[in-house]
């Protein structure tokens, strides 16, 4: 998994690409979110356009990151999901948990 981190309008945008799967991407995702939270970022946007695959471990890390952010009073939102990742969030019903946006502009504005 590769990542690109940007800060725009008070929002930390973490763009991910490749696989978020057991033994590699899942751990990296956890570390990226924890580092952002620890450095004081309370508005985090995960941009998933380049993610080719995610497994249950990757999904689990996304859920853990969401909970971690919420417990610290921070927000974690998602943008630019591929159809397959959207399908996975639908079947696991996590689509009801995450705030999901189609465009980055829309997502950044939603943080207020």
């Amino acid at each position: 998994m590769k990542q690109l981190i940007r800060d725009t309008g008070g929002v930390r945008i973490i763009s991910l690409s490749g696989k978020i799967t057991i033994g590699s991407g899942d751990v990296m995702l956890r570390e990226l979110i924890n580092q952002s939270l620890e450095s004081g970022h309370d508005k985090i946007l995960l941009e998933l356009g380049g993610v080719s695959a995610i497994d249950s471990s990757g999904i689990g890390e996304m859920v853990a990151s969401y909970t971690s952010a919420k417990n610290r009073g921070a927000q974690l939102k998602l943008v630019n999901l591929s159809r397959k990742i959207n399908d996975i969030l639908q079947v696991t019903q996590l689509i009801t948990v995450f705030d999901v946006f189609e465009t980055e502009e829309e997502a950044v504005q939603s943080f207020g």
Binding site: I22, D55, G60
Partner: protein, 141 residues
């Protein structure tokens, strides 16, 4: 058509199993959709064998078999772990479990495949058998 693969119980080997499945299916020209979901189910099954079956012991062997017959792919993944009762697993979509960070692997396998059955193995361990009808990608519009 059948192929069998045995490898050490390490997460790095999941990619090899996925690649082997892709090669196995090549003569069928599977749709991208089918390939994605069967590879995803395989990944979950092998992850379970490594993490829960063999509890991270890299000396153990995971055995994977692909069988293709009349457009139906059957994938089996076998470990030598302690075994488990899949009926006792909670539903990860239940509101009490929705925010848990684990427990979605078998649920996902069942969503991605047409049929998923767990068998206890003689001598110990579990074999999961998963089937899915594979559509010819060349015939899709």
């Amino acid at each position: 058509m059948q192929a069998t693969l045995c490898f050490g119980s390490q997460f790095e080997n999941i990619e090899i199993a996925e690649l082997a499945l892709e090669r196995f299916l090549e003569p069928w020209s599977p749709s991208a959709e089918d390939l994605f979901w069967v590879q995803s189910a395989l990944r979950e099954a092998v992850s379970n064998a490594i993490r829960h079956g063999h509890v991270g012991d890299p000396e153990q062997q995971v055995r994977v078999q692909f069988t293709g017959e009349n457009s139906v792919l059957t994938v089996t993944v076998a470990d030598r772990g302690m075994g488990f009762n899949p009926e006792t697993l909670p539903d990860p979509t239940d509101p009490d479990y929705l925010l848990k960070s684990h427990g979605r692997g078998i649920f996902c396998m069942k969503q991605f495949m047409d049929r998923v059955v767990f068998h206890p193995r003689e001598g110990g361990g579990t074999m999961v058998e998963m089937t899915r009808t594979i559509n010819d990608g060349n015939k899709e519009s």
